[in-house]
């Protein structure tokens, strides 16, 4: 993808923009989320995983996506997140019309397909997995399979 920089007159402004971006990249912690530039080599989406006694919960950021754009499947202890973000940003069009010419000053948001396989710490009950996608945040709740839940063991006294 080409980035055109027409219209931003002073070279100093461009330098400042670049430094801002570089600084942002270095100082934002943990790593950058999102499509596009990923310093850790391209695993997308980034996920946060939590585990409670009853369930394993996974959270991912998928801005611009709706429930129909993402495919979630669970098999045993593996969760697969699959989907794609269409490049709808180039202006009005579709239906074969020629799109009006646009100039990109900055192109940081990626588009395209993604697929990520996540191995969960325990087996989960795939029939009871629930997912919600609100404001671009995907939350997947996987209740643990009954055999994986903690069981209290009664100690018999002799």
């Amino acid at each position: 993808m080409q980035t055109y920089r027409a219209g931003f007159a002073l070279p100093l402004e461009e330098l400042r923009d670049e430094l801002d971006r570089l600084w942002g990249t270095l100082s934002a912690a943990p790593p950058l989320h999102g499509w596009g530039i990923r310093p850790d080599g391209g695993v997308f989406p980034a996920v946060n995983i939590h585990e409670s006694d009853a369930a394993v919960t996974i959270e991912a950021e998928l801005p611009g996506l709706d429930v129909g754009d993402v495919d979630i499947s669970v098999t045993g202890d593996e969760l697969v997140l699959k989907g794609s973000r269409p490049d709808g940003n180039a202006g009005p069009g579709g239906n074969g019309e020629t799109k009006p010419a646009v100039t990109w000053h900055r192109r940081e948001r990626g588009t395209g397909a993604f697929e990520r396989h996540i191995t969960l710490p325990v087996a989960v009950d795939s029939g009871r997995v629930e997912a919600s996608l609100v404001n671009g945040v995907l939350t997947v709740t996987c209740p643990k399979a009954p055999e994986a839940q903690p069981h209290k063991v009664q100690v018999r006294t002799a």
Partner: protein, 130 residues
């Protein structure tokens, strides 16, 4: 719909006067597209609260700030690959824009800001007589 005027930021409903800056602040990924009649900025701000997004344009600089309410998953963390915090970013666009006509919308975690150019400076095709 979030709208902004020339020098004020959009008032937040129900927010406290001095928000605590306890969160980390992130710079969202942004696409900037120049369509001639307007410049469109599209920012990825997943998890932002719709009524707590500020867009302002002052002295040729467009600033956006999106508040992301903290969210905790149940249980203990096993893996943390990204952090949750407010988004903030500014861009120098220049003075050719009509600040009173800036509009913005927030949908599915994506903030789109339309910054129209002042009519006098829009690109015009000039007929060449031959």
């Amino acid at each position: 719909m979030v709208t902004s005027t020339a020098t004020q930021t959009v008032p937040r409903t129900g927010a406290t006067a001095a928000p605590a800056e306890a969160n980390l602040t992130y710079q969202p990924h942004v696409d900037i597209c120049d369509r001639g009649s307007e410049v469109t900025l599209v920012a990825d701000v997943p998890g932002a609260q719709a009524d707590a997004i500020d867009v302002s344009f002052e002295d040729g600089v467009l600033s956006l700030r999106a508040t992301v309410p903290p969210r905790e998953l149940a249980g203990r963390p096993l893996r943390q690959e990204f952090g949750i915090g407010d988004y903030r970013r500014s861009f120098r666009l220049g003075e050719d824009f009509d600040a009173s006509q800036i509009t913005a919308e927030y949908r599915r975690g994506v903030l789109t800001i339309h910054v129209p150019r002042l009519p006098a400076v829009r690109p015009r095709k000039i007929e060449v007589r031959g």
